[in-house]
């Protein structure tokens, strides 16, 4: 049994609830003990330092301190949460002034941070703490014959001064996962590019064109499904897929999975358990394919 402090982030608890449910499903099957953090605040949505840089340190330092109090590492399921917590962690560990300032605030709420917590995104927690081989053993369905396009997104790869899970120039963690589950990873250029979510409320047309072009490229390379480790990317890629199709004036029809749903399917999760009814682009076709791949 591996235990983490569980930090799902705000979107996964609301509009992206299917992600939270899928995560709990696979945690149960893989022997991961997720300790909830009801006091943890939003990480800031990736923009809070544009409001006040110290606020970013304080609210995320608090989240880190809460985990440290229980002697736990934090597991995240969202790219932006991962980057934000990692950046704050790096700063608190390396910059004594920032640590002092943050601990002054934390002291007032009965907390302290000493830099002991590690932040792990679930993809890399599974790779490093459980192992893709163990995952393979536990799989009950194979993803054989399914072309899966990994969409890393930005924030679990860059900047590598903060997030150090994978090679930012040529990451392979996702591909290794897909292969371990029997699927066929699709190779395409935009797998490490941006989905555009950060500007979706600022300039929708240009923002959705980024997601649109990534989907289109994957489609051209015969992808059956795309997978993303981030609920924000998922909103861009799935919920906004119809809007994206319009902004690039192309036909798009690619189902988008959350990473834990990909693992969940392999571990035997069904349509309802994975929350597929909440998706814009239907997963029925994929599930039909998978049904035939009993291991």
């Amino acid at each position: 049994m591996i235990t983490y402090a569980y930090y799902p982030g705000c979107v996964a608890q609301e509009s992206g609830k299917e992600l939270d449910n899928a995560t709990k499903f696979i945690a149960d099957k893989l022997g991961i003990n997720l300790i909830p953090m009801p006091e943890a605040s939003c990480c800031g949505g990736g923009v809070i330092d544009g409001f006040d840089k110290n606020l970013k340190l304080f609210i995320n330092g608090r989240t880190l301190a809460l985990a440290e109090k229980d002697g736990l590492d934090i597991m995240t399921i969202c790219n932006t949460c991962t980057l934000t917590l990692s950046e704050v962690n790096e700063e608190l560990i390396n910059n004594p002034e920032s640590l002092e300032k943050t601990n002054e605030y934390l002291a007032k709420i009965g907390l302290k941070y000493s830099g002991k917590v590690k932040v792990k995104h679930i993809l890399y927690a599974v790779r490093d703490d459980i192992g893709f081989d163990k995952l393979k053993e536990k799989a009950v369905k194979s993803l054989k014959g399914i072309n899966i396009a990994p969409f890393y997104g930005c924030h679990i790869l860059r900047p590598s001064s903060a997030v150090k899970f994978d090679d930012p120039e040529n990451p392979q963690g996702f591909e290794e996962l897909i292969k371990a589950l029997g699927g066929e990873p699709v190779s395409y250029g935009r797998r490490t590019k941006c989905c555009g979510f950060q500007t979706i409320l600022v300039n929708e047309a240009t923002s959705t064109s980024l997601a649109g072009n990534a989907i289109f490229e994957a489609q051209e390379k015969n992808a059956d499904v795309m997978v993303t480790p981030c609920p924000l990317c998922h909103l861009s890629l799935d919920t906004y897929q119809t809007v994206a199709a319009k902004s690039i004036n192309k036909k798009l029809s690619l189902p988008i999975l959350h990473l834990p749903q990909l693992i969940g399917i392999a571990l035997g999760g069904d349509y309802a358990e994975m929350g597929f009814s909440r998706h814009n682009v239907s997963l029925r076709g994929i599930m039909a394919k998978v049904r035939q791949n009993e291991i």
């Binding site: 009801p38 949505g45 409001f51 606020l55 090679d167 941006c194 555009g196 600022v202 009814s277």
Partner: protein, 331 residues
Amino acid sequence: MEFKIRAYRFNPEIDEKPYYKEYTVEDYPGMTVLNALIKVKSEIDGTLSFRRSCRSAICGSCAMKINGISKLACKTQVGPEIEKFGIINVEPLANMPVIRDLIVDQESFFDKIKEIKPYLLGQREDDARDNFHALKEGEKISQPVYYKYEFQNLTGNNDTPNCILCECCYSECGGVVGNPKYLGPAALAKLYRYCEDPRDNDKNGSRLVNGSKPDGMWDCVHCQSCEEFCPKGISPVKSIVKLHERTIKNSITFSAGAKHVVSIAKSIGETGRLDEIKVAFDSGGISGLINDLPMAFGAGLKGKIPPLRLKLIKDMDDIRLAYKELDLEEK
């Protein structure tokens, strides 16, 4: 040991469309991609065209895509690239039209640099005290005083004045890909450099106001590529976020981007969480919501719309205290 270079070739004068040409080169320890290109040009194919000058990572001429990532050819060692990718692919930088082979038209990039007014504003040209004075015998000169702290954000190793205008960040920028009119990381980093300069006398905050207009600082998608791939260790995205902070603290919040950030801060300050509906409304306004109605309706049918009132996090007072300590409470 031999290796292959696969170069993007295109001469609009004679080629209908671009193609790739492979060359085989003998390497040596410490060989850079630029060394290899020069060898090819000098010994095998003089038509291979690329820009280069200093070969010591200071002039910015030789930026190009090497195995898909924008880098300086003079600084990129052949050995590690071959180890990782098995070949050296060279292509012209992205986001700019190709003139020929590995040479791109940089006019749009330089136009954006010019647009942010990259020089000190509000300088008095006619101040008599500043008259040029050649020293006579026995004379000494006095100099104006600027202390270290005044320049502290401009004199570090990875600070914005070190930018060599190589365009690697611009080529990797996610924002420019989506919006070709977006100013881009280098121009905005330069804007930050001038905002930070204690000698800049920008009355009325015109720099921040102009920078907040469409295609300006709020069009950054935060993809972090500029920081990751800058060969001089500069982080344009962190400079852009600092511009955001400065802009909001100066109450220049007419832009959707600023409203978006302020809304998120407000949401966290009241509930400890990100209220998706409220933030969407604050950022895009009524027109934004109306525009997104079809998408939202579809999402609503699937149960994706969050409740109108979010539950507060536990120990919400902790967050309120943080806002209070930092003097960020809503007045």
